[in-house]
Amino acid sequence: MSEIVLKVENLHTSFFSRQGEVKAVDGVSFFVREAETFGIVGESACGKSVTAMSIMRLLPEPSGQIVEGKIILEGTDLVPLSKKKMRAYRGRMISMILQDPMTSLNPVYTIGDQIGESVRLHQALPDNMVEPEIISSLRLLKIPTPETMLGNYPFQLSGGMRQRVVGAVAMSCRPRLLIADEPTTALDATIQAQYIALFQDIQKKTNVAIIFITHDFGVVAKICHRVGVMYAGKIVESAPTREIFKAPRHPYTSALINSVPRLEHKDERLYSIEGQPPSLLNLPPGCRFAPRCTVATGVCREEEPPEVDLGNDHTVSCWRVK
C-alpha cells in the first residue's frame, strides 16, 4: 500500500451568517494515498466544494471558519498554520483546478506569464531555467506547440485547451496533492474523455494524489480509485469505486446510482428520490437522510449513525449496516 498523502480527520467547517450557523461540513474524515484518485460525489450544497476550500484554507472570511478537525498533509496539520505558511503550501504542495475554464485564467496575461507566476513563486530557479520549466508543464498536459503557447492569451484558446492550461498551472510545481473541483462539468463529452485520460497519465508520471469532486458518476467510474459519497455535510459512504457501484451499502448511495439513467440499456422507469436535501441551518435530528430514506427505522430519526468499517477501505454510516 502506498503512503497516505492527505488525511482529513473530523473536519467541521461552518459559515456564520445572520440566520445562524450553516454547518456546511459536519464531521468529515477521509484519506488519499499517493498516486490515488479519491472522488467526492454529491449533489449541490452537500459540502464537497467547501471541503475542498477548507483543505486549501481558502474559505471566505470572516464568515467561513474551520471550527474543528485536522487536515494532515504529509505529516503537517494545515489547520493551525499561519496565513504566510499556508501560502507556501498552496501551489507547491497542494494545488487546485476549478470548474469554469473561462474564468480561471486572467485574460490580460499570457499563458507563459500565468504559469511562470507559479513557478517563480515556489521554485528558486535561476532565470534561464524558468522557461524550460514552464514548457515541461505544458508538455505534461500534452499541450501542442508549447513554445508558441507561451505567448498566447486565454481568449485564443477553446474551453478544453484552457482547462489544460489551468491544469498546467496547477501541476507546474509538481504538487503532492491536486484538488479538482468539477473540472470536466463544463466540457463536452468527447473532450471530457480526453481530459480524464490525460489526468490518468499525469498521475502515473508524477504520483500525484488527486481529490476529484464531481456529481457525474460516469466520470467517477473512469478515473476514481475510491469514492466518498457526501450528503448534507457528511460522508455517508466511502469505498473503492467498484464496490460503490456493485455493492453500495448506504440507501442514499444506491438511490442515487439508481436514479441515473444508463446508456447500456433502456431503463423502463428511473428511480427518483422523494423530497429535497435538508436545510443546513436546520438539520433534522438523527440521520440526515432519514426523511427521504425508504428503509429508515425509529433509531434513524433519533440518533446519528456511527461510522462502521467494513474492511477493504469501505466505511458506511447507516444504522442498517452492522
Partner: protein, 327 residues
C-alpha cells in the same frame, strides 16, 4: 402513415462575419448546414451533439427566434414562413412551447408564480381572471406542485420546482409540441429523475411531442423515440433511438457513446476499448473539406477528406452519413 407534426427540410443558418468599417463579409459561420428530420405526434425526437454542433440554433429557428438562411419548417404540413403574422399568433405559437435549460433565468424574477404560469393564457385567450386562476391551480397540481405557493417569487423555489413551473407554463395552452432545451442538465442528479419521469407521464397523458436538445446520451436514451446525432451543423446519424444506440454506425456516435458509458475500467476487458477522439470540434467558420468529421475520425480514409458523404438508409428507421457505410 405516421402522423407527422413537424418536418424540417434542409435547415440552413449561416451567420455572416464582417470586418472593417465597410462591414465587408469575409466569411460565414455555418452554424446549421442542411438539417432535416421529422417529428411525429406523441413522440420524442432528441437532437444530440456537443457545443458548436448547431442544435441550439436549430431549436431557435423552430421557435422563430432566428430566421433561417434557407430551408423550410413544415408544421402540420404547412410552411411556417408562409404563415401570416396573425396566423402565427393564432395557430403556431400556442401550439409550440418552450422549456429552457436554466430554471433560474427562464422566469422573470419580479413576477409571481401565478402570473408566470398565467402569462400564456392572458396573452392568447379571453379567459376571465377567475377562469385563469382556476386553470393555473390545475396546471400546478398537474406537475406535482403545491398550489398554495402561487404568490411566491421564483427565487423562493428550488431548481427542480422551477423546472416544474416551466413545464406547467408550457402546458397552459395545450400545445402539441414542446421544445425542451437541456431540460435537466442544470438540476441535481436525484431531481433529474423526477423531472424526466414527469415529462414522460405528461407525454402519455396528452399525446405531446417533444423535441429535446441534449448532450447527455443516457438522458436521451431514457426519453427518446428517435434521435439525431449532430456534428458541426449537420446530422451524421439519425433514426430510432433503440437502433442508433444498439448499433451505432457513425464513428462519432460510437465515440460519444464510449465517452458516456458508465463502465468501470476493470469491466472494459473483453468489451470494446474506449474510443478517445483527438483534437476538438473545428470551427464552423471553416469546416473541414469532404466529411466534416474526418479530422478527428479514428477510421478516416484518404477519400474522406475529399468526398462529401451522403445520408444513406441503413435499415428500417436508421440513416447515416459516412463513407464507411454502404447500404
Amino acid at each position: 402513415m405516421a402522423d407527422v407534426l413537424l418536418e424540417a427540410r434542409d435547415l440552413t443558418k449561416h451567420y455572416p462575419v464582417t470586418r472593417g468599417i465597410l462591414q465587408r463579409t469575409i466569411g460565414w459561420v455555418r452554424a446549421v448546414d442542411g438539417v432535416s428530420f421529422t417529428l411525429e405526434r406523441g413522440k420524442t425526437l432528441s437532437l444530440v451533439g456537443e457545443s458548436g454542433a448547431g442544435k441550439t440554433t436549430t431549436a431557435k429557428a423552430i421557435l422563430l427566434l432566428e430566421r433561417l438562411t434557407s430551408g423550410s419548417i413544415l408544421f402540420e404540413g404547412k410552411d411556417l414562413y408562409r404563415f401570416s403574422r396573425s396566423e402565427l399568433k393564432a395557430k403556431y405559437r400556442p401550439r409550440v412551447q418552450y422549456v429552457q435549460q436554466n430554471p433560474w433565468s427562464s422566469m422573470n424574477p419580479r413576477m409571481r408564480l401565478r402570473d408566470i404560469v398565467a402569462e400564456p393564457l392572458t396573452a392568447n385567450t379571453t379567459m376571465t381572471k377567475k377562469e385563469i386562476r382556476q386553470r393555473v391551480i390545475e396546471l400546478l397540481e398537474h406537475v406535482g406542485l403545491n398550489a398554495e405557493n402561487v404568490d411566491h417569487y421564483p427565487h423562493e423555489f428550488s431548481g427542480g420546482q422551477r423546472q416544474r413551473i416551466a413545464v406547467a407554463r408550457a402546458l397552459a395552452l395545450n400545445p402539441s409540441l414542446v421544445l425542451l432545451d437541456e431540460p435537466v442538465s442544470a438540476l441535481d442528479v436525484s431531481i433529474r429523475a423526477q423531472i424526466m419521469n414527469l415529462l414522460k407521464d405528461l407525454q402519455e397523458k396528452h399525446n405531446l411531442s417533444y423535441l429535446v436538445i441534449a448532450h447527455n446520451l443516457a438522458t436521451v436514451r431514457y426519453m427518446s423515440h428517435d434521435v439525431a446525432i449532430m456534428y458541426l451543423g449537420q446530422i451524421v446519424e439519425y433514426g430510432a433511438a433503440e437502433r442508433v444506440f444498439e448499433k451505432p454506425l457513425h464513428p462519432y456516435t460510437r465515440a460519444l457513446i464510449s465517452a458516456s458509458m458508465l463502465t468501470l475500467p476493470e469491466d472494459e476487458v473483453g468489451q470494446a476499448q474506449q474510443i478517445i477522439l483527438t483534437g476538438e470540434m473545428p470551427s464552423p467558420l471553416n469546416p473541414p473539406s469532404g466529411c466534416r468529421f474526418h479530422t478527428r475520425c479514428p477510421e478516416a480514409k484518404e477519400s474522406c477528406s475529399r468526398d462529401i458523404p451522403q445520408m444513406v438508409a441503413a435499415g428500417e428507421k436508421h440513416m447515416v452519413k459516412c463513407h464507411h457505410y454502404h447500404s
